[in-house]
Symmetry: C2
Subunit: 375 residues, 2 copies
């Protein structure tokens, strides 16, 4: 069986490109992972997600444990088979979403007791239980169970939370055990405090993981603060392991994060935006709800090769969105995921070619032109 | 340019199989036409609709004239281009849906004035306006503008309505003019009254159409009454032209209609059912909402070759339907349309092979077995 293995092929400044080999396939990095919360990337057939160029999906432990249940998915042959996705899957630990979505949660050193936002049923998550659930799901990349405060937060709250997350990281490592072909990632915390990030990185390295996430960002601190943290945080993590920035982000967040040494990202944005009539393009965001598209025969982006841009006009996208038709979300999600993967592909090629700075400048210049002018 | 041409290849009893050649492709008959009401077959990419085996789609004049508007679709290059469907499209006349969906309608010999169910705006439909709209849409098969009462209805109401529809049919024919490669179908009315059906057929034949619909059925009369009417009505229409039964139906309605000499049908049922968790299979209807599917690893139908049955379990379909995920409607619609097209393919082969009776018996026997037993 192929082992989990990260290969760094090239660097350009702090930006890195390479690949993660897994038994289920290779993940080209920097990688963007579409989110398949409830065992589906909303509005997409999994074959179509693969067509956009995605090598790996993210699944949400919190949602799946509540519905349909991790034990059920295990009995049915695991998450890959359940949702018809043969490639690698990364699952989060459930910690973040318990804090943001569940009701009546109670947090102790042991773990978190909470009520389901779906049916009010009572559940418990801990490092040990999270490892068990992620094993039941059959996840290829398992995330350590952690906790983090929304930012801004008092330094003492951030420090105490980080230190508990580091104790949970050790318990996660212990509970994960040895599972060849599967990886366990630790999650750095420490908010925007550089010394806490260093303390967290040291604790994680001491435990030892297959990869390291920069956690606790994209929780309200803004891009400037996030980039300031990323100017420092990734470098505190091992160079020879993949670095994953959780829950990020907008295209310009992605470019800035890759510039700062990030290898993996995930975000609901491209799929969620697609369902609300928003498209992401090299010229920035386009709101298809806007009446200016009503008679526009042009595609969203004449340079884009996705099925949405090859076959449909802005007028059509406007119409089907207004009419509440499913195909509006299907086409715009496809376009957005395609655009995100094109961006990642461009970033990888630029880093490999030693021309990241030129790529970044062109990226911002193209966006500055704004959406294609009205006919 | 290919002319519109109907070729009858074989008959078996009153059942017929053949093909309609159009400039946009051949329609194998008996044909089932998926409904693309608002310029999309809900939940399906048009390539996927074609993959199910559909040769032709139906578009709704009433919906399209209100949103996005027929003039707009014409400016954008016609309905085919707008919705990315290269094959033939049949459009209804709008008459039926004005009567069933609009508000505050006023019916006169001239036509119907009504308010949009979408925004309350005022509109007018007449034979002339319906022909204009269907031309603007670029429809390949245009339906004459007609009107019909819900059944049961008093004979005098049915007769008066039918006679006005026949006057409207003559006006439709006149307004349609000569459009090579495009076809105009007349619509027989007369409710369940055999002599009125004959009177209507005579009027239509006198005017002369490229095809003939049996209209005014599937409006509440029940299958037995519908079949009793179909025992007689299709035979009153020209043998050398296609016969279209509008708005039908369930799989057993389809088999019974084909047996009685019908060549074309359309219905929202397979797509609408798919969005509400209902599947149609050779063993009858399956309700995926039912908790008995929650742990069932089997496909909907192990003999079905559609992507839904090849790749997903009943447990998955149950889960995504309960979770309100778009893929539930996408997969079940695909399955249902696939099943319907497989049924049509089976009917065509059976008629061609002179074994319609055996096919019909096997169809009913398979359904009588009921859905696959619980594990």
């Amino acid at each position: 069986m192929t082992r989990f293995f990260f290969r760094l092929d090239a660097t350009d400044g702090r930006a890195r490109t390479g690949a993660i080999d897994t038994p289920r396939g290779t993940i080209r990095t920097p990688a963007f992972m579409p989110v398949g919360t409830a065992a589906t990337v909303k509005g997409m057939m999994p074959e179509s997600v693969a067509e956009t160029g995605a090598d790996i999906l993210l699944g949400n432990t919190y949602h799946l444990m509540l519905r349909p249940g991790a034990e059920r998915i295990e009995r049915l042959g695991g998450l890959h088979r359940f949702m018809n996705w043969d490639g690698p899957i990364l699952t989060d630990s459930g910690g973040f979403q318990v804090m943001s979505l569940s009701d009546l949660r109670k947090l102790t050193e042991d773990g978190v007791t909470f009520k389901s936002h779906i049916d009010g049923s009572k559940h418990f998550l801990s490092p040990e239980r999270s490892m068990e659930i992620q094993r039941q799901l059959g996840s290829d990349i398992v995330m350590a169970f952690d906790e983090c405060p929304a930012l801004p937060a008092p330094r003492e709250r951030v420090a105490a939370s980080m230190r508990m997350s580091m104790r949970w990281a050790a318990r996660s490592r212990e509970a994960f055990g040895d599972r060849p072909g599967h990886a366990l990632f630790g999650i750095q915390q420490g908010g925007l405090e550089a010394d806490l990030r260093e303390e967290s990185a040291a604790a994680l390295k001491e435990i030892g993981f297959d990869g390291y996430a920069v956690g606790g960002l994209a929780v309200g601190e803004g891009q400037e603060a996030m980039f300031a943290c990323l100017d420092h945080a990734p470098e505190t993590l091992p160079r020879e392991a993949p670095r994953y920035l959780m829950g990020v982000g907008k295209p310009d967040d992605i470019v800035g994060a890759v510039k700062r040494g990030i290898d993996m990202m995930d975000c609901v944005l491209p799929s969620r935006s697609g369902r609300t009539g928003q498209a992401w393009t090299r010229r920035g965001q386009v709101n298809l709800k806007n009446a200016r598209h009503m008679d526009d025969p042009r595609p969203l982006d004449e340079a884009c090769t996705c099925p949405c841009c090859r076959n449909y006009s802005r007028a059509y996208l406007h119409h089907v969105h207004r009419a509440g038709e499913m195909i509006a979300g299907m086409l715009l999600t496809w376009h957005n995921l395609h655009y995100y993967q094109e961006l990642m592909s461009g970033l990888r090629a630029a880093i490999a070619g030693g021309r990241f700075a030129a790529f970044e400048a062109a990226f911002h210049a193209e966006r500055a032109e704004g959406d294609i002018e009205r006919l």
